[in-house]
Amino acid sequence: MKPTQRREPLRIVSREAPVEAPEIEKLRLESLLHDPVTGLTLHPFGDLKGERVANLGVIYVQLGRFAGVESLYGWELYDRILRVTAASLREDVPASPFAPGFLTMSFNGSDGVFVLFDLARRAPGKKGGTLESEAARLRLGVIRRLKQALGRSSVDLMHVHATALAVPDDPRVRPGRNVMRALAEASRLADARESGEKKSFVERLKAILSGRKLRAVFQPIVAVKTGQVLGYEALIRGPQDHELEMPDDLFAVARDGDLLLELESLCIETVFSSLPRVARGKRLFVNASSRLLTHSVFLDDRNLAEMKRAHGDVVLELSEKEVVFNYPAFREVVARLRAAGFGFAIDDAGSGYSGLESIVQLRPEYVKVAHTLVSGLQADRIKREIIGSLAALARRIDAELIAEGIEDPAELASLEDLGVPWGQGFLFGRPAARPVVLRPPAAKPARPRS
């Protein structure tokens, strides 16, 4: 079977062949057996039809769990990554010398794809190509297409691994179990490879921390209607062109190496020691975790006073998911920080972890709408609906809404329609050590309303 055939519909429903009662159960089963995003089977045995495979070849392509891409960037980006990965494999597998023996391609339901071959049916004429070199070729294809499609530095850190394994049949063993063990072994090999790489990344992070090599950049937050600047969000970068340049990557590695507090402390220090002139008269938004905020070193009166001296108008941004799980624990800390003159913002609101609970509990001055909700909102009613309810809630508790990640004039226009007062994103200016505020073309003249 060719890999492209896996997406075949179950059955086309037509007027001549009405779907009868048992068919609904079948559709439901098909839904359970096939991943909707990749279109791949979740259950490879179905395609093997109970046959023994004399020499089973398994290539396993795993997207690293390291960076926790889905929880960092959201399910939509992860869906795209999975789609690109599956499409890349579908395109590259037929060119393999092992293609005549292709059996099936299955998704492990989370982060890896197995490609199964009957190695005995390898193309006789085609030279070269061991199973290992095929695994490497498929891996490079996935990485190349992910970079083309996403262009993110994080693709590097996502650690696409590929392992290859040949498993001879053993007639004493049931064929299903033989296959299952082969898949488990391939994925164990990938894990081992990943953990080796993790260690080397943690070492690189340690070097950044001890060399104090972080940089702070600042992104403007502006009124969507007038372009008036409310303030700047401080963001952290690793050394330029380093694999750990982007903050998500830094934090992913820090989480793994148990270095979060060290990283975060250095972030704060870096921000307050490199404030650009433009940020001084405006509000300064600084990201903080509940872990940091409740730590005695941070809460130390001298530390707080020093921050206040460096900048008098600081808003601490807390992620929605942090607040909901930890609020009772740091209620007092929040009160103390407020008394010391710090404001609060809920970050990533509407990313779905907590409902609106965290916002009500923290009573922040600002609510920042997650960029995943902002992206493409003009074409998505459910996103607009969620932003609308965030706006209503913000009004009730006297908080102001800031939309993050605005990149497109159409998004801006939709946000204006929804009454979102503040915005942040490439359209208004990129994060930079010396930030420049842009005036988006669509924001100036009044748009003709249909």
Partner: protein, 129 residues
């Protein structure tokens, strides 16, 4: 041509209420309170819009939407979730299974009509997935 709407809710009174609102606005409306039966009808003869409850015995609205998205004839069919589940997480689930829009019960007749008009006006639109 009059846009056709199909309403699915395990509460027959709700099906009738929604039908009444939309018929009043000139839609051709059908409905069913049995989820599996509703799915059969929609698959056999796709309408221009499906109004779908979430919590139903047998099949949930999320499962129905997921199945519709996998079938070529209904992959792009607009699905409006009309449900008591209005948490942000529920709305996100609605997007994840491919829903086109979401309205929370209790709803106002004019909200439902406005959405039905927009959604049937762009019945070629794909789901969000």
């Amino acid at each position: 041509m009059t846009p056709r709407v199909f309403v699915v809710d395990d509460d027959p009174a709700m099906v009738e209420a929604v039908m009444a609102v939309l018929v009043h606005d000139g839609f051709e409306v059908d409905g069913a309170s049995d989820a599996a039966e509703a799915l059969r009808i929609v698959l056999r003869n796709p309408p221009d819009l499906v109004v779908l409850d979430v919590n139903m015995p047998g099949l949930t609205g999320w499962e129905i939407c997921d199945i519709l998205r996998r079938q070529p004839r209904t992959a792009g069919l607009p699905v409006l979730f009309l449900t008591g589940r209005g948490e942000v997480a529920d709305r996100i689930t609605a997007m994840q299974v491919g829903g086109t829009d979401h309205l929370t019960k209790p709803f106002r007749a004019e909200d439902l009509r406005a959405r039905a008009r927009v959604l049937t006006g762009r019945s070629a639109t794909k789901g969000v997935r």
